[in-house]
Symmetry: C2
Subunit: 522 residues, 2 copies
């Protein structure tokens, strides 16, 4: 048992309830109150007393949509962001190669920053590592430089493609882009050892905890990830709560295994729970592959769905009867129509907890319809920053329906906040800043066009905690009320006491999961 006293403790955000102190037993908050009250009980119980010294405590953040394994992979790479020369890149690669076995991967270089004023080549890399494959992706994630070994092993050295760049003699330079880049990345993914993979998951989990995230909805979980997480959880090495939305499998074989065993939403271990299935139904605004009901403003395309309505319907029905939640990636309004049609066709859909992920361009009629069907949304406020060009892409009229956070609040649809990490930074304070300021300090056109769609700080914090718990259907997460799970963070400053511009500078000092400290800032 532990008593936390002398704090500035936010129990919940809707309504805002604050206390000075709380008592944790068996991983849950059993009592909140004044420091005096809690201290007196703690002494009688023989509980450990922790003096918060006036610091601010908030419920832990729940990132309702992210990719834990990809984040782990990303964190395991050589970080080349900001490197100023090819010589420095080589030096860094050399150090990395000394500490790491197997295939080597790095990310983040930008030839615009190189003192040499040229692109790196496979020969640069070969000078440092020639006996095992190396892939260093450019900051844009559309190109990479490979060493000779990597070109050979992937077979790209023999590709006759514009995406494999060649010099004046027709020899590959080592630079690959687009399709050739994606192909190389897949090959590199395939050889990640189980140990590396597990380490990636652990690193990603610890990263999340260090940012104040105590639960993640890990979407698009493959069999490898599920097995690895199950093992980590059984061995007590998983300290982050992970909620898994699984790839149903190309022939629904994963969904079939779940159904055969009767595994329903919420089935899991100590920290890991299976929630349901996740399906991708369209692309992105960036690639103009999000499926819109009318063409993009700046191109002759409406985008397209990546699945048929029939297939989506089949997954939805099987997920639904199995007692699992369904989560569908839908960015464009045409995709959202399709998903809503599919959900509407299910018996007793309300209360089943089915979700739409992203819902980036969602029309008012769709918000109403989602509300009627009881659909939850997983939203990513930081997309507002990244998709700063979106008004141009969809036109002013429709841009009013892009990331319409407050309209969603007004209608009262359950929603959670998230980052799609590693697509956006996992840091909740970046997300909260984006949700609250909507890019107005960065001069983002969407902010000027739709200033009313910014969330208030209360709304953002509510959505990121109890809101995210709501779409997980876990009502013992997201607040520090009596009886709730004691997942909380200690932060450097009260977010309600700072100017909104300062929100992104808030630091997480400590993170507690089930009342146990799992992170402390140095």
């Amino acid at each position: 048992m532990r008593a936390f006293i002398n704090g500035n403790v936010y129990v919940s955000f809707r309504p805002i309830i604050k206390v000075e102190a709380f008592l944790v037993a068996s991983g849950r908050v059993v009592k909140t109150g004044s420091s005096g009250e809690i201290l007196e009980i703690a002494e009688r119980l023989g509980a450990e007393v922790i003096d918060l010294g006036g610091k601010t405590v908030l419920p832990g953040f729940i990132d309702s949509h992210m990719h834990l394994d990809e984040l782990g992979e990303y964190l395991n790479m050589l970080d080349l962001r900001g490197v100023g020369s090819i010589e420095e890149l080589k030096e860094r690669l050399k150090e990395f190669a000394e500490e790491k076995d197997g295939w080597l991967r790095g990310h983040g270089w930008d030839q615009e920053l190189f003192a040499e004023g040229r692109w790196p080549t496979r020969h640069d890399l070969d000078e440092v590592v020639s006996d095992r494959p190396v892939l260093l992706s450019r900051v844009c994630l559309h190109a990479a430089v490979l060493n000779t070994k990597a070109l050979e092993i992937t077979g790209l050295i023999d590709w006759d493609s514009e995406d494999v760049i060649r010099d004046e003699n027709g020899e590959p330079t080592g630079i690959v882009k687009e399709d050739a880049f994606s192909f190389a990345v897949r090959k590199f993914d395939e050889v990640i050892t189980d140990e590396e993979y597990l380490n990636g998951l652990i690193k990603a989990s610890e990263h999340a905890l260090s940012r104040g995230v105590t639960t993640v909805d890990f979407v698009s979980v493959g069999r490898r990830a599920l097995k690895a997480l199950g093992r980590l959880d059984a061995e007590g090495k998983l300290r982050l709560r992970v909620r898994a939305y699984l790839n149903p499998g190309e022939n629904l074989e994963v969904l079939e295994s779940l159904r055969k065993l009767g595994i329903r939403r919420g089935f899991g271990g100590r920290m890991l729970k299976i929630c349901g299935t996740k399906v991708l139904a369209d692309g992105s605004f960036g690639a103009r592959t999000a499926w819109l009901s009318r063409p993009y403003r700046d191109a002759e395309t409406r985008g397209y769905p990546t699945v048929s309505k029939e297939w989506l319907g089949r997954v939805a029905r099987e997920t639904h009867v199995a007692g699992l939640q369904m989560a569908v990636h839908a960015i464009g309004d045409a995709t959202i129509d399709m998903v809503l049609d599919v959900y509407e066709s299910l018996e007793n859909v309300e209360g089943a907890g089915h979700r739409i992920e992203h819902a980036s361009l969602i029309r008012p009629d769709q918000i109403e319809r989602a509300k009627q069907l009881g659909i939850g949304l997983a939203l990513q406020p930081h997309f507002v920053m990244t998709d700063w060009w979106v008004v141009e892409r969809v036109g002013e009229e429709r841009a009013k329906w892009v990331y319409p956070f407050r309209s969603i609040v007004r209608v009262g649809i359950p929603f959670g906040l998230s980052t799609d990490s590693p697509v956006e930074p996992l840091d909740p304070w970046e997300t909260v800043y984006a949700a609250v300021t909507r890019g107005k300090y960065e001069g983002i056109p969407l902010a000027e066009l739709t200033p009313d769609e910014a969330l208030t700080l209360e709304e953002a914090l509510y959505a990121y905690t109890a809101g995210s718990a709501g779409i997980l259907m876990e009502n013992d997460l997201g607040t520090l009320g009596e009886g709730k799970i004691a997942d909380f963070i200690v932060v450097s400053v009260d977010p309600f006491e700072v100017d909104e511009k300062e929100l992104r500078k808030i630091k997480v000092l400590e993170t507690y999961v089930g009342g146990e400290r799992v992170f402390r800032a140095e």
Copy 2:
């Protein structure tokens, strides 16, 4: 939060720790102490106070080996035990048919008790129910009477077999036995509707709770049972903790599904957890099918294994690498040798929690070997009563190794107690009585031959609570220590204050699971 005060509370049995009062929060015991201490804390916490009025509280019993669905089926049947005439049997069947749809099943009649002095026939049954199949099994479970509809639907009416009894005209009388009986039962099992099946599980769970059992190890769980339990748990209808040991499937398809999804020991929902696989490796003493290293004393057979060592080894390896527990039914010492060989062949077997079920005839060298390998045992003391003829069957020399409970205690093997219900009554007090008295008041030869193998009351209660929790590898069950799960019972009398003969008369007054009352005697 709830405080229980003024009790005679056994926190644990090894050593015996007693308190007056305890406080429960979030389903766990958070503090034990004097009534004064607990009352004072409870008042400050605003906890509900329950005055135990001096009654005795014990940790809930954990039945470490039973068949929940078969118990449910049994409880759903028409109970014909003690019926004194065919007329009464017909009357009872008539009432049962009025309240129940579908195929009808009853159990327990004995023609020796019938006033008519004859066996019942299909015509007796047809007079009451002719439009749907009826099967009424004899008390011995080796024979039954079927109505004409049942004979027709099962096809038994056309069987040319000694097991389908015929009258002087060659017409089937309705009585079937042995193989024909088993065949008919299987046919009846197949048509149980999902609703009946679910109701059976609920009835069995409530029955267990009413007997003071708060957790069961449900062995030989099929896919139907697992799905049904998952559904009940998700819907909050499962109030008993159920630990499942699954049939791996004829072609290991269930084990394969578990492995594909990475489901390990302990994976589950609120009340249900998957622990591992269960395999049957031999038969029983009763049928002389338990496999002995030397022939039975009273027959020219050693019994036989029901699986090959190769197949058992394959299941064990796959179960082991999947992070699941393996439980093997092994009654005879030759089977135990085989199982121990298989366990010994696994890497890092110690700590994996593999088990032997029954271990009825276990030699001293096998007890030592099981200890070395870290194998747990699930034992059924009531078999001592049922197998009262066992000395004759295996001979005096080997009978010393039959149900050698105290030898097992002395060597220090982890073991739990159980009933194999519905084979033996689920009532823990019958089991405790059998463990402690070993049938000496019933004049059972084994008691005379091996009086030292009886357990003390402390040993029996320890094994039935913390011991059973130990072979489940769940150290938060089995005692009422601080931090443990608050599963407990209130009983009519302190078992340490009564003569051992009175143990079987102890009544369970209330049962609590996770601090919530789930049963109260009327």
